[in-house]
Symmetry: C2
Subunit: 309 residues, 2 copies
């Protein structure tokens, strides 16, 4: 199975309101609820593609219970979340029907105790025994040490399980040093990490900091990969119109399934770009359009050069 | 015991953010959760004053479960909520730390089926057997007929239980015709009902529509009562500075406990104004300051005239 780690899971709520005005009272016309956090989103895409996938991380309180009840209803997905005393956070996306714009409110996440963190590490090591690949995704909740991902990467590497890291800021910087197989920053995260706004230079610099491969997501321009096997760019066949929510998580799902199957890089990148594009095109934010995915898969343009052996 | 009915209960969330800006992403620095809906707030104040109080209405889904778990932890309060299939709504008050202003987001409430509504009516009739007074509070969730309060008032009157109605719009208009003992509109609701912005005239007009007594809450100016026994104004001894959230529900708690104890009107009004003022003065929104309540109780100015017998 493929393992995804979401230390800061969330109950994601999407509210529709007519027009968001500060200091006014609003009637919410529609409420959509789903389990969230990057690793959970990645797992949902993998399960929809037919992969066996296990979700771990933390869940607590009434919101954690709601997250787990909803995960239990997702075919192909196994819940191995570790209970915590404090409640799982909510995130609220308020969609303004007039402008289409979204205002985001993110709760801080549960305070994780050192005992809970130790319990998680033991459970994670056990889960790695059956994993073909692991993704470490998203922010860290309060109480989890900032170097957490570095430790989890070392444990995965010791177990011989390839590992992808998708986070930002100091947890990304610290994680890089533990030599993950892939990091997938977006352009902004990559610039923050390296100080360079030129993606190719920044990706090369990021590899020097420890990651075996760097795959940078460049929004509408697709992906840029800097790897030991070569360098590639992969882009959708035409500009896309839609909602980019979840497109980055779908790209991670594509890269991770390709990593688990040890596919050549161009195939991994085509899968990641096609999934990401099919997510932008889907009518529901964060879902992907399966027909669009299958149609796009053969039409992603992958260009690049293979490194000399 | 005193019975409060909250057909549209809520899980009330209060978020603190640095500054609310539409279309931006916000880190919520503090989350406060409590069970809500007007009748639940009234019950919490009554329980804090030492009354035995029973809460009924509807609760469903994960949010309903969270509401019930929190009610179970409130001494003196009995949970007689009726389960529904659809989830209890959330309300979110976003407090802007910079300006102190609040932006409100209210979910629509659960779709109640006709079977659930029938179950509630049976349960309500049973509960009235042990009730010394009942309050019907707040909005109606989808699926509950707009004339719901009129029916519940008739049932209470047939059982000989005095009844207070605190709602607005069409449910208030319909409820009035069933001759509740007390209605407690605020100035805006009273004007909407009667078309008059002159409170004394509007209160008299509202009584003609069926209510035995009308107690209008006039914000900082306190209460205006138009009753078969006489007419009174009751006001706090000095202008108050604080958060008016929940002040109206505290006034209802004061009136309702006075109704249950068959107190003379001036004592009921003094209690309602003192509780309301002690709620404005409390550091936490919706709570009341007990010492302030006891101190204010003897200092509320009640002026008026008794009707000729």
């Amino acid at each position: 199975m493929i393992l995804t780690v979401t230390l800061n899971t969330a109950l994601d709520l999407t509210y529709r309101v007519r027009s968001l005005r500060p200091h006014a009272s609003h009637r919410v016309s529609e409420v959509v609820e789903r389990p969230g956090g990057k690793g959970v989103n990645v797992a949902r895409v993998l399960a929809a593609l037919g992969h066996e996938v296990t979700v771990t991380g933390f869940a607590g309180g009434g919101t954690g219970r709601e997250v787990r009840e909803r995960l239990a209803g997702t075919p192909g997905l196994v819940d191995a979340l570790v209970p915590v005393g404090a409640p799982t956070r909510r995130t609220i996306a308020v969609v303004d029907e007039r402008t289409g714009d979204t205002t985001q409110l993110n709760e801080p996440g549960p305070q994780v105790t050192s005992g809970e963190w130790a319990t998680f590490q033991g459970s994670y090591e056990d889960l790695l025994g059956a994993a073909s690949a692991v993704a470490l995704c998203g922010s860290l909740p309060p109480g989890v040490p900032v170097g957490a991902y570095a430790g989890l990467i070392r444990t995965a590497r010791a177990a011989g399980v390839p590992v992808l890291l998708d986070t930002s800021g100091e947890p990304l910087r610290r994680g890089m040093a533990a030599r993950p197989d892939i990091v997938k920053p977006n352009a902004e995260e990559l610039a923050e990490l390296t100080g360079s706004h030129e993606p190719l230079r920044a990706a090369r610099d990021a590899r020097r900091r420890g990651a075996h491969a760097v795959v940078a997501s460049l929004g509408a321009e697709g992906l840029l990969a800097h790897t030991p096997e070569g360098r590639w760019r992969a882009a959708p066949p035409a500009p896309l119109h839609g909602n980019p929510t979840g497109a980055g998580d779908s790209a991670v799902a594509g890269l991770l399934s390709g990593l688990a199957e040890r596919l050549p890089w161009p195939e991994r990148l085509a899968r990641a770009v096609a999934l990401s594009a099919a997510t932008v095109l889907a009518p529901t934010a964060g879902e992907f359009d399966r027909a669009a995915y299958e149609e796009l898969l053969g039409r992603v343009a992958v260009t690049g050069e293979v490194s000399a052996a």
